[in-house]
């Protein structure tokens, strides 16, 4: 069964006449890397907000694990899809880097020692340990990006939805991210990757979808 299923989904922002997405049908499995490409303004980020229930379709319906997205709370969706926003500033809200990563992990209900272990692991992997007590918004853009990724990856959701995850990452950190994706894939999880980074897409994508004028034009 598809992890996410879109049936005739259209979306139009309030007050605008032209729909951003038109009659989209799409199945996404929780394995492999589905890359979504398209020109600036083609609706990639809008699609990601629909997949996570942040926006509701104007027409059509979306199912997550067979359940209608509209019947689930954002928390229930968030446990199944880990969404890393295009702009990490919109995702970070805690007082320290460590707290930021710990927040979601604690909310999963893990025992404290296991939660702490998980936080240490991802903080170490994404080379954020030296910033553990830093205020997240005082970090550089690349560091904020790594923190947003780390905080979501720590939750180990079934599907990762990454909106331009390589923006602001230097080549070395890009490779770290790629290696982590390989690890997630090996553990049987799926990734939806929205990106313009052709090199990164070529290396990791197992399925390539192109958005144009609100519809998928290629697969």
């Amino acid at each position: 069964m598809a992890y996410i299923e879109l049936e005739n989904v259209s979306f139009c922002y309030p007050g605008q006449s032209r729909p951003v997405l038109r009659e989209i049908n799409l199945s996404i499995l929780n394995k492999g890397v589905t890359a979504i490409t398209g020109a600036n303004g083609s609706g990639k980020t809008t699609l990601s907000k629909l997949l996570t229930g942040i926006l509701l379709p104007t027409k059509g319906r979306i199912k997550l694990n067979g359940q209608l997205l509209t019947s689930l709370t954002l928390t229930q969706i968030g446990r199944q899809i880990g969404y890393v926003f295009q702009n990490p500033d919109k995702q970070l809200f805690c007082e320290t880097v460590e707290e930021e990563i710990a927040f979601g992990v604690r909310n999963l209900g893990l025992p404290p020692d296991q939660a702490a272990q998980k936080v240490r692991e991802v903080m170490d992997y994404f080379e954020l340990t030296r910033h553990a007590q830093a205020y997240p918004l005082s970090l550089s853009a690349g560091e904020k990006r790594r923190l947003a990724l780390a905080a979501v990856f720590a939750l180990e959701p079934g599907l990762l939805l990454l909106d331009e995850p390589t923006t602001g990452l230097d080549p070395y950190r890009k490779k770290l991210l790629g290696d982590y994706l390989d690890k997630m894939l090996a553990a049987g999880r799926g990734v939806v990757l929205i990106s313009h980074d052709q090199k990164f897409i070529n290396r990791y994508a197992t399925r390539l979808m192109g958005l144009q004028d609100g519809q998928f034009i290629e697969e």
């Binding site: 020109a39 600036n40 500033d89 853009a141």
Partner: protein, 239 residues
């Protein structure tokens, strides 16, 4: 006269905080494109903020050494005066956009220079056309995608026609067509004698630069021709 002179620049955000830039010196001649690369957190954006005078005027912090843009010491001039010399495009366009429409956003700075309305109109049209965003003219910048926002932020700065541009990862969210447009604009601007300092990670974009500077932990560790420096840096990172 050099367009940019950075002389023994050190900087930190708080007096007791971590030193972000450590004793950096370099010069950029008019008409040069210089790329600034380095691992995230090494001080690239901080250096851009120093060029525009945001540090120390707005963000405070402790700055030693000297930064001159077209001969003007950034400590002695107001940010508004420095903006006429250096057009700064931030890494996050959301921090830069505030007007209700794309057109207003681009017209704002030339209007504040008290240019005649006709000249403002001409500049806005030219910028919209060059960047290929004329169809977004009446759109609210908040409704744009990440890449489109960066094009508008870039347009707002180009409309000021500064002689120096400091661009902080402006290509990061652009699609291939947008990247090509900006690359072409940068090469055209160089032909017109403008000076460009750009922070970038993408080797393809960096390749248009005449020189590449590499920062590591706040220190300038390399300064040389793009082909040489890029090769050395990539093999250093082994990726």
């Amino acid at each position: 006269m050099d367009a940019i002179v950075v002389d023994r620049l050190s900087c930190r955000y708080q007096a007791a905080g971590r030193q972000i830039l450590k004793d950096i010196s370099f010069k950029v001649a008019p008409g040069e494109i210089v790329a600034l690369i380095g691992l995230s957190g090494c001080g690239k954006s901080t250096l851009c903020l120093c060029l525009g005078g945001i540090i120390p005027h707005y963000l405070g912090g402790e700055l030693t050494g000297q930064v001159l843009v077209n001969g003007k010491d950034t400590r002695e001039y107001r940010v508004a005066q420095l903006a006429l010399e250096v057009g700064l495009v931030f890494q996050d366009p959301d921090t830069q956009l505030f007007a209700p429409t794309v057109e207003d956003e681009i017209a704002f700075a030339p209007e504040n220079l008290c240019l005649p309305a006709e000249e403002v109109g001409t500049r806005v049209n030219k910028v919209l056309d060059t960047l290929g965003i004329s169809d977004l003219r009446k759109t609210n910048p908040n409704h744009l995608s990440g890449g489109q926002k960066h094009l508008v932020a870039m347009g707002a700065v180009l409309a000021l026609e500064p002689s120096i541009l400091a661009l902080d990862e402006v290509m990061a969210q652009l699609d291939p067509a947008g990247k090509k447009t900006i690359n072409k604009i940068l090469v055209d601007l160089r032909r017109q004698g403008k000076t460009i300092l750009m922070v970038e990670h993408d080797p393809e974009t960096v390749s248009i630069a005449d020189r590449v500077l590499v920062l590591e932990e706040g220190r300038l560790i390399k300064d040389g021709r793009a082909v040489t420096v890029l090769g050395e840096w990539e093999s250093m990172l082994r990726c």
